[in-house]
Symmetry: C2
Subunit: 296 residues, 2 copies
């Protein structure tokens, strides 16, 4: 007797077919096994871990092209790796699937995810399927960064200057699906040891900058007139809309000259304010400091 594959195994075969095309060089075994096993990297690097999820109805809609939803699931997590100055290597993907219709849609979602994985040289090495009431995708990434160099949210000091890449407030209706994670920019900044602190903007500058400020125990002053606005956005929207997926980073004044001179990317680079002592508080020229709150 050789029974037919169970429904779960049939779908997993279909979904993961698209994912098998890019193999990580150090991968010993991946998809289809209990765990993914990879050879350890050189001791000259640190490991970087990140997990991120997208949920239908929140991060994408039923009407969103499936391939874009898959692309976004990966690109969101890559944006965090960019903020850590990391090079991505391997991904694990968990799919939550409510019904047969969603299972079919997941096949196209995985195709978009696989295409994005090829573009950014990420090997999808494992995953998991669960039954949920909403379609959702959770992506975990493993990357590497030169040892000891990864910037984080806690290194900003009073007097350091605030910079952002790209423009803010223009994520809807389309850019939140088609944005490009700032991986080369984050890697370059990290190797040049320019940022004292760095993060990516996912919930909006008005929510994210206060997080960086709290971790660094600083205050700040934003100049609303200097914010790089996306076409059609105003300063209030640039603070609150979220899903910009740009890099926000702080730079000691002495290094800011080097940064402006050596910046090798066509990506816009804008100084938007500066860091203050903690007791001075948070200032944005009278604009409200709030962004997207997942649990409001």
């Amino acid at each position: 007797m050789k029974p037919r594959l169970c429904q779960e195994d049939v779908w997993i075969q279909r979904w993961t077919q698209a994912l098998r095309s890019h193999r990580s060089p150090g991968l010993r075994h991946g998809l289809g096994h209990d765990c993914a096993v990879l050879s350890a990297p050189s001791k000259k690097v640190d490991l970087v871990l990140k997990t991120d999820a997208v949920v239908e109805g929140i991060h994408f809609l039923r009407s969103t092209p499936a391939a874009w939803a898959g692309r976004k699931a990966l690109a969101r997590a890559l944006s965090d790796l960019a903020a850590a100055g990391a090079t991505p290597h391997a991904a694990l993907v968990t799919a939550g699937c409510p019904d047969k219709k969603s299972a079919a849609r997941l096949q196209s979602i995985y195709r978009g995810l696989a295409q994005a994985a090829r573009r950014w040289c990420v090997a999808v090495v494992g995953g998991e399927t669960v039954r949920t009431r909403q379609l959702l995708l959770s992506v975990s990434l493993l990357g590497t960064v030169p040892r000891g160099l990864s910037p984080h949210r806690g290194g900003a000091r009073p007097g350091h200057l605030l910079f952002v890449t790209g423009s803010l407030g223009g994520s809807w209706p389309r850019r939140h699906l088609t944005f490009t994670p700032r991986l080369p920019e984050g890697q370059w900044l990290t190797r040049k040891k320019i940022p004292s602190a760095m993060m990516d903007l996912s919930d909006g500058l008005g929510a994210d900058l206060p997080r960086l400020a709290r971790m660094s125990k600083i205050g700040f002053q934003i100049h609303p007139a200097q914010l790089p606005l996306a076409p059609g956005a105003n300063a209030r929207q640039a603070l609150s809309r979220g899903e910009d997926y740009e890099l926000l980073f702080t730079v000691p004044k002495a290094r800011a000259v080097q940064l402006r001179k050596a910046w090798p990317f066509s990506t816009r680079l804008t100084e938007i304010g500066f860091c203050l002592p903690s007791r001075a508080g948070f200032h944005a020229g009278g604009l409200p400091l709030q962004g997207y709150d997942h649990l409001r």
Copy 2:
């Protein structure tokens, strides 16, 4: 102006308080930053990655004690690392939260998860929160295994013997929440190079053994009378109930003698059958070969 924390940040602070007690020795920065950064391990090991999710209504119920739900979320993923012979190091936790009541319950769930993380020496180094319609937890693990030694599902050959740890069919109503992942057993088997293939039993022997057989391109014969039954379970239930979280592994005959003689654990060890050539098919003494199907 220094605005109050947004609801999401308030809850994350509460949830993660319990998680900060165990720090990984190689951790550079974790919770609260965009990514977790850890120093790379020795080149003498391979990295092991796994992700797994639990969903309220499927893997635990609204009536399940919250701490047990949190424990299970971690222990399920640890069971997969056990099957890879790995030692766990770091975890990322994604919580899906539908409402304020669930946010409060998540605090107790995180406490259970933190207690389990301390017990099994796992550092929770990062995570993510999303709004979902059901309470759910997705856990990703990073572990290590001696280089080149991790067993997988593809190494079984005709003639190899089939073994399981513990007993089968007794997961409900309680053991699926309180089971102990077979980490020392999996690590010992791996270091001794005993298994030709290994996996953990999560969907039931009747669903999982065919997966191992397909990856190894073998058939098999199970002896129903030899199955180690949990109290009150019959052979049919031992094949189909799922959530045993025991190790299933295959052993070349020559190594089986060493295995039986040297097995240093109080955990039960049972030979339940043997591997056949692929063309011989799957045999379980007439019992149906099926387990839990997540997408049926």
